[in-house]
């Protein structure tokens, strides 16, 4: 197990370097960011040159990349164009997005899995058909439509929630945005769980458990669910990274100042330091989530062992 973890951690290094290099190149291809800094007029050449020098933009890209990576290992992610340290931006953005992701994941786990188990056990019944139709609708409607609709109905028409999230972004204000963010994945989790459960209800070990005379809830929880969860855990695990990076639409609609917002601003202003910094961290989150998923397999199913 220990060797497996070490090997996985080592594998992360090339992925990490490759991903950051790609992002670095992509942002640089977009051209000179200083040009957009002076508004609808040309920066005077001397100031532009000075700024370029200050942000290290006057060096060749490979050198910029090396300097950047060198600094990253000492925890210095550079400075954004508005004079703020990128680490400072991260410190304000990541906690918000992490809270939002936690809410979304909780929705996925609680509602998604429960609904999946219920429908999986009642295949072909009205509950099952109903849930299938609902999930189909959720999957086919884009997130921004769901978001704006809920914002309008709950926020403006009925006044149940505030249409925008305040800058502190506490958990209770994130419930609706979290639901919106989770909606599509939620539908997938439901369908995945349902199929998995439906398949495993006919498995030998379930029949054995029932034949032993175990109570129904014990059969479902300890035998059926535990074995059916492997694909679901894989999905939710990879979804953590996707949710954090993909929250741009939701964060924009509900005015949440999280990672999506910072990334959006960074791209608009072509701020290499911000974009690369945030993406670097997101890549790390993604890799870590994947590792945890793989480790969880062993917990769920002891037959899966890692050498």
């Amino acid at each position: 197990m220990g060797r497996y973890v070490v090997r996985r951690l080592l594998q992360m290094i090339p992925v990490f370097v490759g991903a950051t290099l790609l992002i670095f190149l992509m942002v640089n291809v977009m051209g000179d960011p200083i040009a957009g800094l002076c508004g609808d007029r040309e920066c005077d050449p001397a100031t532009a040159a000075q700024l370029r020098h200050e942000f290290g933009l006057d060096k060749p890209v490979w050198q910029q990349y090396l300097t950047y990576m060198g600094n990253v290992f000492t925890g210095d992610f550079g400075t954004a164009f508005n004079g703020q340290e990128v680490t400072e931006l991260m410190a304000s953005a990541f906690p918000v997005t992490i809270r939002l992701t936690i809410v979304a994941i909780l929705f996925e786990i609680v509602i998604g899995i429960t609904l999946g188990v219920v429908t999986g056990l009642r295949r072909g019944r009205p509950v099952d058909t109903g849930a299938l139709v609902v999930t189909l609708v959720v999957i086919s409607v884009p997130t921004f439509v769901t978001g704006l609709l809920l914002q309008l109905l709950l926020g403006v028409e009925w006044g149940w929630i505030r249409p925008s999230v305040s800058s502190e972004a506490p958990f209770d204000e994130l419930i609706v945005p979290g639901l919106v963010l989770a909606s599509v994945s939620l539908a997938y989790v439901t369908r995945l769980t349902r199929t998995s459960i439906a398949e495993n209800t006919r498995a030998d070990y379930v029949r054995t458990a029932v034949a032993k005379g175990l109570p129904r809830h014990r059969v479902i929880r300890k035998h059926l669910l535990r074995n059916s969860l492997i694909p679901v855990v894989t999905f939710i695990g990879t979804d953590i990274g996707a949710l954090m990076g993909g929250a741009i639409v939701t964060e924009r609609i509900f005015n949440i100042h999280g990672v999506g917002y910072q990334l959006y601003q960074g791209i608009l202003r072509q701020n290499t330091q911000t974009v690369v910094g945030f993406v670097t961290v997101l890549v790390l989150v993604f890799l870590a989530a994947n590792l945890i998923v793989d480790l969880l397999y062993a917990v769920l199913d002891p037959r899966i062992r890692y050498a």
Binding site: M30, R41, A46, Q84, R162, S164
Partner: protein, 549 residues
């Protein structure tokens, strides 16, 4: 419609609740009727965008940061929120005999909100800081007319040989002199711009702390500033000026999307939005009634041309440019695309200047009137479109430019009876768009917008059309125009200077150096709690005059 009334009810309820709780804070709720009275202790909330640069007077060149500076700073001059006229604020007196050497006296009795006195030195230090290359101030060019600028800010990027401007001299506690490199009669009127604001010593001694929580001398002081999310301004009780804040303060809240800000206004969570999203223009009157403001601002949009391009720069092309101008149905586009938040342009300035300031309705004449037949004829006479097609370049990331560029092209195509006469050419980001302009890569007309720095006709002409001027993106150059501008700047009689500038503007017209499209309005919407809301000529709300009930 039903939604609208509902939202109004919520907003009303919220207003009542807020008014009931907010009165505790030192306000005088004498309440003698009418909307004219306000609770001077009550705080209002307003939408805001994250400023692009650190909040320093000489480093802020966009509206969002400028908004804050105009609340926490007062300069030598102040532009009247209604007429745009430059009036003395901290300036006791600005004297000159030759339009080149100025003696400025600062009023006594002004202090910064930290108690420090505002003296001549506060201005001179601030201007020297702004002009010095090593401070990277993006508005440094505002000091380019002051003698010694070339030493503190060498244009070739070489090392600066002086830290201070030789043209600035402190001659007493409250007096200083300014020596310009050329005659510039309207120079005093430019001094209301934020870049010329005075700075306290703490700006220089502990710069990081100052930027984290700016200290100025305006009617508001910064209470707290959380970058990227909120800036809380509170009324400065000891403010010595006449224009004291009529409310207890303003909370500027950063919105990622102006649609969300509008939704928040509808739900009663926000008092003021100063940018009504384009998608809501159709509903805004029904939603807000007379709480929607739509007034002209000092912004004009034009199409510029690459005069460095062989095809576009050659003689005779002015006919093609005029033909294109006549092929654009401005009335229809401003009505349908912009819902009347733009006014078809008939000159190259802005109506906010007023007639005395140099705005001249109809100066463009026929050249700005839609006439398909004339347009076709002019384009043919001029030798046809270069390459048989014009591509209008614009940035697609902000400001929904695609819609109007497509409409303009459609109008040109119809007028010229040619499906392929005009196409839009989107560029991904604003920075890339600016890049292509700076690198002279434009091959046809491109979007240009000009928001005035100060309400002077000079500001609408010189930076844009003077040879090698800072914003002359098309690199247009005309000796007669330059000569007239120089003459106007040397003219000490304001009325004469303005009319000389207008002659220069006629040169722009005769050559069609840029096609004027429309004047942009400022738009705002506010909640029932507020009254006396107005926008100044820069399309920024006049925050200090807003009353909260």
């Amino acid at each position: 419609m039903r939604g609208a009334t509902h939202a109004r009810w919520i907003a009303g309820a919220a207003a009542v609740a807020l008014a009931a709780t907010a009165c505790g804070g030192g306000g005088d709720d004498d309440g003698d009727g009418g909307s004219g009275t306000g609770d001077t202790g009550a705080v209002l909330s307003s939408s805001w965008g994250d400023p692009q640069n650190p909040l320093e007077p000489a480093n802020t060149n966009e509206v969002q940061g400028g908004k804050v500076l105009s609340m926490i700073f007062r300069g030598l001059k102040q532009y009247d929120p209604k007429t745009g006229e430059a009036e003395d604020m901290l300036a006791e007196d600005i004297e000159t005999s030759d339009s080149q050497n100025f003696t400025i006296t600062v009023k006594d009795g002004w202090t910064f909100s930290n108690g420090e006195k505002v003296t001549a030195k506060s201005f001179v230090d601030a201007w020297n800081y702004g002009a010095s290359l090593e401070n990277n101030q993006k508005n440094a060019y505002f000091f380019e007319y002051i003698q010694g600028y070339d030493k503190t800010h060498p244009d070739d990027g070489g090392k600066q040989t002086a830290d201070t401007l030789s043209g600035l001299k402190v001659t007493g506690d409250n007096t200083f002199t300014v020596k310009l490199t050329q005659k510039f009669s309207t120079f005093p009127d430019t001094l209301g711009y934020n870049a010329y604001a005075p700075l306290p010593q703490s700006f220089f001694t502990d710069h990081d702390a100052w930027v984290a929580k700016p200290v100025g001398n305006g009617p508001y002081e910064v209470d707290s500033y959380t970058k990227g999310s909120q800036l809380s301004l509170r009324k400065w009780d000891d403010y010595p000026g006449e224009d004291k804040a009529q409310n207890g303060g303003v909370d500027l809240k950063v919105y990622t999307d102006n649609n969300t800000a509008y939704t928040d206004l509808m739900a009663g969570n926000l008092d003021l939005v100063d940018d009504v999203p384009a998608a809501q223009l159709k509903n805004v009157e029904a939603d807000l009634g007379d709480r929607y403001i739509n007034t002209p601002a000092g912004i004009i949009q034009t199409l510029s041309f690459p005069f460095y391009d062989e095809e576009w720069g050659k003689d005779g092309m002015e006919k093609v440019r005029e033909g294109l101008s006549r092929a654009i149905d401005r009335d229809q586009i401003t009505d349908t695309i912009f819902q009347k938040t733009r006014t078809p342009a008939t000159d190259w300035t802005s109506p906010v200047l007023g007639e005395e300031g140099g705005y001249k309705e109809g100066l463009c004449g026929d050249a700005c009137e839609y006439d398909a037949a004339a347009a076709k004829k002019l384009v043919e006479e001029g030798g046809g479109l270069p390459g048989g097609q014009v591509k209008i370049t614009y940035n697609a990331d902000t400001g929904s430019h695609k819609q109007w560029v497509d409409a303009v092209c459609n109008s040109i195509n119809n007028a010229l009876d040619n499906d392929k006469a005009c196409v839009g050419n989107p560029v991904g980001t604003f920075a890339d768009f600016r890049n292509q302009i700076t690198d002279r890569k434009m091959s046809g007309p491109f979007r240009a917008g000009w928001q005035m720095d100060y309400p002077l006709i000079q500001n609408f002409l010189q930076p844009l059309y003077y040879t090698n001027a800072s914003s002359n993106d098309g690199k247009w150059s005309n000796a007669q125009f330059d000569k007239l501008v120089d003459e106007a700047n040397a003219e000490s009689d304001t009325a004469k200077a303005v009319s000389t500038f207008q002659q220069a503007e006629e040169v722009v017209r005769d050559n069609m150096a840029a096609i004027p499209l429309w004047y942009q309005n400022g738009s705002a919407g506010y909640s029932e709690r507020l009254s006396d809301v107005s926008l100044n000529p820069f399309s920024v709300p006049v925050y200090d005059q807003i009353k909260v009930s």
